[in-house]
């Protein structure tokens, strides 16, 4: 079982990202689950979304999770929420920030000793898609770190997932995914 927790703000696309990732993974025959904590959260409120991936049907519906990966797609959430909650020894953190990984860890001591990768999903999204929607860049970074799929395979599938959007937006998302793949450190 592979488990992922997303930290996001409502409106930044974590749910869409989690469902998109689940959709792509499902095409390879694996079982998937994607869900989120909504509450009555309004746009801008901190929220979490989740992915589970397994070889066999996923029966577990508990919300509690000790994630293998933590995605943080809003830079401030590292300070205003506990992104290390229920983490394991080997949990991998991929965090969007304008800082270097060293600067980030120095600014948030809870990340010390953890496996942390960083990139600036917000900047990438602004420069490619034209809006601060950092979800698809995070998935590009995840493909690089996890080596789950070849990036071209992943992009081809994401084109289908995003198929209802205008071609221009789909193309911009592909650029964003590729840039994140190249830039994550």
């Amino acid at each position: 079982m592979l488990e992922i927790r997303w930290h996001s703000r409502a409106g930044q696309g974590a749910v869409t990202g989690a469902k998109g990732l689940a959709d792509v993974i499902s095409t390879t025959g694996k079982e998937v689950q994607a869900f989120a904590f909504y509450g009555s959260a309004k746009r801008g409120a901190a929220m979490t979304a989740y992915n589970r991936v397994a070889e066999t049907p996923i029966m577990n519906h508990e919300k509690y999770m000790e994630p293998d990966y933590v995605f943080v797609i809003d830079p401030a959430l590292v300070y205003t929420t506990d992104v290390t909650m229920n983490a394991k020894e080997d949990t991998v953190f991929i965090i969007t920030t304008h800082m270097t990984t060293e600067e980030l860890v120095a600014s948030q001591p809870k990340l010390e000793g953890k496996t942390v990768y960083t990139l600036d999903c917000i900047k990438i999204a602004q420069e490619t898609i034209g809006r601060a929607i950092p979800n698809t860049p995070m998935l590009g970074a995840f493909m690089k770190i996890s080596e789950m799929y070849d990036i071209e395979f992943f992009k081809d599938n994401m084109k289908r997932v995003l198929g209802k959007l205008p071609q221009k937006i789909v193309d911009a998302n592909m650029l964003a995914i590729q840039r994140a793949y190249d830039e994550v450190k």
């Binding site: 989690a18 959709d23 499902s26 994607a34 869900f35 909504y38």
Partner: protein, 407 residues
């Protein structure tokens, strides 16, 4: 046909709401009268979009309340159409008066209930308060544990509800957020296969059949009311289960997916069992397997048909079990949980009465964790070892503050 068909992949990644919306499209529902409410909104929104995009030949009626939504459904069903809608929680509560009208008038309406807590305090998350509120309303109530089942059970609902021997409305329940907003792989049927399973709607005593004028919703008073209600109850008690079973059998032949009136998992040699509904059934299945690895013979029983209540099938499923925990996801309001009540009623006159204890859990969407279930099975095994229930009969799982227990 005057609508487009939709190409679906063999496995789609859908949440429970979208799965239900797709089922309403494939059933080619004639009329949806709806007043959307969280977390059920995407079901009727989905139908409306399919309609606007030309994938359904039907009508979406926007109304001013859930009371009006079900009233519209009743009118359309009496007129002779295939009718469905969706609601949750407060919306369901507002519908209650008309739920009794629908069942009393013997109208086959399918209502998707995305289970959610009842205020106050206000809460949009999943528990079974609304499902329990409907349990005396004379409807058939089917319960799904996953998006796949929310999809499949809609077809079962149309097939059973519209059967001329049944003619009773049917609710399809799914857990708010835990199913409705959780995306998982859903194995689909193509449009022709799905529609073929339920077939064309065959009206009966429809008001638009002007050659055979009928009246619906009449007043009877003391002279006939009791006869009507008892006949309705008779049909619930005797006619529904065989039709549900037949629909499950046909569905298995068509799709390979097998449903049972009572679902039993790891029950063949189980000493201890958890009996529950909704997503908790699946989580408990996973924990039962883990308990077996630790040497505790754990099983799970899930209620698939909540109304009519499957007394005979429950007795069979629980034969030989030594300790049972009923899990009720609704505030019991001064008594035991509904499942505790039903199971006690089902088993009281049987020879092997197991040790029965009741648990209230998960109100307002409170997480039921695997750790909770491990503790629960451990407690049940302790009851078996002691030969008696060692705890109070009613306990609460996962609530903060001093431990609550009663009876």
């Amino acid at each position: 046909m005057a609508f487009d068909k939709m190409e679906l992949r063999e496995t789609e990644v859908w949440d429970g709401n979208f799965a239900a919306a797709q089922a309403l499209r494939q059933a080619q529902v004639d009329v949806v009268a709806a007043y959307p409410i969280t977390p059920s909104t995407p079901i009727v929104e989905g139908y409306a979009k399919f309609l606007a995009d030309g994938y359904v030949e039907g009508e979406f009626v926007m109304v001013e309340s859930e009371h009006a939504a079900m009233s519209g459904c009743i009118g359309a069903a009496a007129a002779g159409g295939r009718v469905a809608t969706a609601t949750s929680s407060q919306g369901f509560a507002l519908m209650v008066e008309t739920l009794y009208q629908a069942s009393g008038m013997r109208l086959p309406i399918v209502l998707n209930v995305v289970n959610r807590a009842l205020a106050a305090p206000l809460n949009v998350n999943g528990d079974h308060s609304d499902m329990y509120l409907g349990r005396d309303s004379g409807w058939i109530q089917l319960d799904s544990y996953s998006p796949q089942e929310a999809y499949d059970l809609n077809f079962i609902a149309f097939k059973v509800s519209e059967d001329h021997d049944v003619r009773l409305p049917c609710m399809v329940h799914q857990d708010g957020f835990m199913t409705s907003h959780t995306a998982q792989g859903v194995k689909t049927m193509d449009d022709d296969t799905a529609y073929g399973f339920i077939g064309d709607y065959k009206p009966m005593n429809d008001m638009l059949d002007f050659d055979h004028p009928v009246t619906h919703g009449v007043q009877t008073e003391e002279d006939w009311h009791f006869e009507h209600k008892s006949r309705q109850h008779n049909d619930l008690m005797t006619k529904v289960m065989p039709k549900v079973q037949a629909a499950f059998d046909d569905f298995e032949k068509l799709t390979g997916r097998k449903y049972n009136i009572v679902e039993s998992y790891d029950m063949d040699d189980a000493d201890v069992t958890v009996l529950c509904m909704g997503t908790s059934v699946e989580t408990a299945r996973e924990v039962a397997k883990e308990m077996r690895a630790k040497g505790i013979k754990a099983g799970v029983v899930g209620i698939r048909v909540f109304r009519p209540f499957p007394f005979e099938q429950i007795k069979e499923a629980l034969k030989g079990v030594k300790a049972i925990a009923t899990l009720d996801r609704s505030a019991p309001g001064g008594t035991v949980g509904a499942l505790f009540n039903e199971i006690a009623g089902a088993l009281y006159n049987t020879d092997d009465r197991a040790l029965l204890s009741g648990y209230i859990y998960g109100l307002g969407g409170r997480d039921l964790t695997k750790a909770h279930l491990v503790d629960l099975y451990t407690e049940l095994q302790a009851n078996v070892d002691a030969g008696k229930v060692t705890t109070p009969l009613q306990q609460f799982i996962g609530v903060r503050g001093p431990k609550l227990s009663f009876l």
